[in-house]
């Protein structure tokens, strides 16, 4: 039993979440509808779905910000309904929100990163060590004395991530962390997410960007509070019909791949991002290039 819990860092069993009705006569709003899900420790899971499909609600229930109205959620084996475990659950499964401005607490970057450890009662010397580590990891160490309102959106979001890392979580939930960033900021944040995953931290990334989902090990698609699809990105995006039916787009690289396929070029399903697409195409080009050069030499 214990071993299973360790392997599945998050285990959700037939969970339902209803928001209280807006007024007395209205029906309660069902945001999550009998959802079951298991997430392995160390995996990188992307969550897709249209607006209002319940993605943010799911993240908030895992973080014990919302108690489920039905079913159970276990984070590292701890039930989120147990009030005594709430703080340990929030420490183990940190959360980064969409709006970089509305989640920073302090007027100084390093003080903000220290906010979580301070709340956990970490001793002063250790706080210093943890926040310096976290700020270096997210590349904002040079900005540590600045005020957040002097930073770019991408930098602010990295401060928020550092604040979560400093709590030493085993899992981080990202709720559309790149939605309000420019392309450069998005890239910076994605690089940190990938680095965290490499370190063995479990990542749950809610996003509307298909190319971000393509980087995950596993993609979950939500619809009306239920899981509509659950597959590795290569499998999910290979069935273009199904992707459209789920109300999603294809990642740009897959879109090009499909056009190339239609034009007769043979490319594998594993090609999901621009980098590997370029590599595959260049590999092909090198062959033709090489044969041409050889021909020139022969002449």
């Amino acid at each position: 039993m214990k071993e299973i819990e360790m392997e599945n860092i998050i285990r959700i069993v037939d969970m339902t979440l209803q928001y209280p009705p807006a007024d007395e006569d209205a029906d309660p709003q069902t945001a999550i509808d009998g959802l079951s899900l298991e997430i392995k420790e160390g995996s990188f899971v992307a969550v897709l779905g249209q607006n209002g499909s319940g993605k943010s609600t799911l993240a908030k229930t895992i973080n014990a910000l919302l108690p489920p109205t039905g079913g159970d959620i276990f984070v590292c084996g701890m039930n989120t309904k147990d009030d005594e475990l709430i703080w340990e659950i929030r420490r183990s499964a940190g959360m980064v929100f969409q709006n970089p401005d509305n989640q920073l607490v302090s007027a100084v970057v390093e003080d903000d990163v220290a906010f979580g450890p301070e709340n956990l009662g970490v001793p002063t010397e250790e706080i210093r060590q943890r926040i310096d580590d976290a700020m270096k990891k997210t590349g904002i160490f040079e900005q540590r004395k600045k005020s957040p309102h002097m930073l770019s959106g991408g930098q602010k979001q990295r401060v928020a991530i550092a604040g979560v890392i400093a709590m030493r979580p085993r899992c981080i939930l990202f709720d559309e962390p790149t939605a309000m960033l420019d392309p450069k900021g998005r890239l910076e944040v994605m690089n940190i997410i990938k680095a965290l995953k490499k370190e063995g931290i479990t990542v749950l990334l809610i996003t509307h960007f298909m190319e971000e989902a393509a980087e995950a090990d596993r993609v979950i698609v939500m619809r009306q509070g239920k899981i509509a699809a659950d597959a590795p990105p290569a499998d999910l995006f290979s069935d273009t019909e199904n992707v459209r039916r789920l109300g999603l787009d294809l990642p740009p690289a897959v879109e090009i791949r499909e056009l190339l396929r239609a034009g007769g070029v043979d490319i594998s399903d594993d090609v999901l991002d621009m980098g590997s697409l370029a590599r595959v195409l260049c590999a092909g080009a090198e062959v033709t290039d090489g044969t041409e050069r050889r021909r020139v030499r022969e002449e």
Partner: protein, 269 residues
């Protein structure tokens, strides 16, 4: 226009006064203010002025910066001075029509003016040499013994520090909304005061709605980062008293002693 607003008025420098423990500085300013109200005669103000001037010199904050702090209260200062000058009863020195200047009035007017100016000196030095965050920390530490009696010391401190974080952001936001409305023909700068206040209303409404959104998001983000009030919380910055703080406290005691002596033992002066 709104970007000129800066919070506090910290003057960055690495002086002894800047490095003093914020708790010591806050206590010193409170003692200094109490002493100003205990002063009996101008000699006490001379002592206070000497003390304030010495601290200003040691802090390296240019004197004109301290004077700048006078500007917002200049009207109050002038008003108190004039009211005291003309309305105080006593032996008439000068009179022109319905206005009389009495000897006691002149004394009282100068006396009050000195007190006000010295009050401003004290608070100006404190805010020029202490970062707002440190001030908040200092106040929290000083008030925390009261929390045993239910006084919300930690809550007040966290409210102040959140305000420090979000006021510049709200100012930026207001600036943005103002520009957007100006681009559509709104006029914030002409007309009388009532017109101008009225034209600001469409600015405040989106600003307030924005502020409530921020409050909601921020509360959730704080909870997600395990915030549960002041109990069991540790701090990144721990305030420690140094030798300089002890020295400053001794000097403060000497100053307070002089003023009390002036009040209680007039024969000495």
């Amino acid at each position: 226009m709104l970007r000129d607003i800066t919070l506090g008025q910290y003057y960055a420098k690495d002086s002894v006064i800047h490095r003093l423990d914020p708790r010591v500085k806050i206590v010193a300013v409170i003692v200094y203010i109490i002493m100003l109200f205990l002063v009996r005669d101008f000699i006490g103000y001379a002592v206070s002025f000497a003390a304030a001037a010495a601290v200003i010199c040691a802090s390296g904050v240019p004197f004109r910066f301290i004077l700048r702090g006078m500007k917002p209260v200049a009207v109050i200062l002038a008003l108190t001075f004039l009211l005291n000058l003309f309305l105080y009863p006593g032996t008439v020195l000068l009179s022109a029509g319905p206005f009389h200047i009495t000897q006691q009035g002149l004394h009282q007017a100068l006396f009050m003016a000195c007190r006000l100016i010295l009050l401003i000196f004290g608070t100006a030095i404190l805010t020029y040499t202490t970062k707002p965050m440190k001030l908040t920390d200092g106040m929290e530490a000083l008030m925390s013994p009261l929390s045993r009696f239910g006084f919300p010391a930690h809550e007040i401190a966290i409210i102040m520090s959140i305000a420090l974080r979000f006021i510049p952001m709200l100012v930026q936001e207001a600036d943005k909304i103002m520009k957007a409305q100006q681009a559509r023909g709104a006029d914030f700068e002409s007309g009388n005061i009532i017109r101008r206040v009225r034209s600001l209303m469409p600015l405040f409404i989106p600003l307030f709605i924005g502020a409530f959104r921020i409050a909601q998001d921020l509360a959730m983000a704080m909870e997600a980062r395990c915030y549960r009030g002041g109990t069991g919380r540790t701090r990144l910055h721990v305030m420690k008293l140094h030798k300089r703080d002890a020295a400053a406290s001794v000097l403060l005691a000497v100053y307070a002693g002089l003023i009390l002596a002036e009040r209680i033992l007039p024969a000495l002066f």
